[in-house]
Subunit: 174 residues, 2 copies
């Protein structure tokens, strides 16, 4: 998202209503970091998605293969999978339908469990992930990880880890 | 996307096909940064989206308001807007239809220009952005910018800027 957080300006609108004075607009140093973060986030997902395409997968598909492969019995409740992937239940449902058609996952009711449907990774889904993962890690290196030096690698993590924790806490609050 | 780039493992699949030996899997330090980046990217957009909801906007809507407000004459060709927002033309078209219904933008043909439709920001769209921007910058501060110290702010930018440039170059190659 190429959004901004400086005061809105527009050459053609001298009559624009001035924003309230107490708005804590970003200064130039903050603004350039915010823009760089947005750009890297968006363009990186775009590029990784392009490099998954020859495998017939989108970013969301790959994410689901990964989450299911790391779950006990290669399965997860649909509601938990929606939470894990930050998707609405209806959007996830459409996606799982597409992945079911492709033979990668199966939706099954769990006998004796009233809490509804599970998504299961199929053997084909597991094999697909095994086949795609080496290419995917090369993409992650080429477009992100290998572009940091060793000090940056740790400094970035130390800066981002508390933010991730903060955001996980907010999500938990529902 | 909670994706991974270590060697796929699964307790229940001792028979799994081993990955080729030459795959440059991420080590633990690389992996934790990759996961933190993904988590921050995704959860931050999720949180910013939640905080735009009371204004009746989604992240994509706000992005389009910003891009159009910064364009000459508050307008942009639909094809250029799709490129700027990394969306497919069909997905952008659906979104602009929704935003047109909400009175935020207008689609207009440009007389004498065969290169098709423009999306224009309406006065209501401009006023909406003016009204929303102060809240949005507070969200950006609370969940991202204000969580860095001054040194981190610059170090992060210096690490991310070359990656943004690398990724912009790749996108240009189409």
């Amino acid at each position: 998202m190429d959004t901004h957080a400086t005061e809105p300006t527009e050459a053609q609108a001298p009559e624009a209503v001035p924003a309230p004075d107490d708005t804590p607009w970003l200064n130039a140093r903050e603004q350039r970091l915010w823009r760089a973060h947005l750009e890297v986030s968006q363009l990186l997902m775009y590029q990784l998605g392009r490099e998954l395409q020859p495998h017939g997968l989108a970013n969301n598909d790959y994410e689901i293969l990964v989450v299911l492969s790391e779950s006990p019995k290669r399965r997860m409740r649909m509601t938990d999978l929606a939470t894990a992937t930050l998707q609405s239940k209806s959007r996830l449902s459409h996606q799982i339908t597409r992945m079911e058609t492709a033979g990668l996952v199966l939706r099954q009711e769990c006998p004796g469990d009233r809490r509804g449907l599970y998504a299961h990774l199929t053997d084909q889904g597991w094999e697909t992930m095994q086949k795609v993962a080496p290419d995917h890690v090369r993409s992650v290196r080429a477009h992100f990880i290998d572009l940091f030096d060793s000090d940056q690698l740790d400094a970035m993590y130390e800066a981002l880890a508390p933010i991730a924790e903060h955001l996980r806490g907010l999500r938990g609050r529902g």
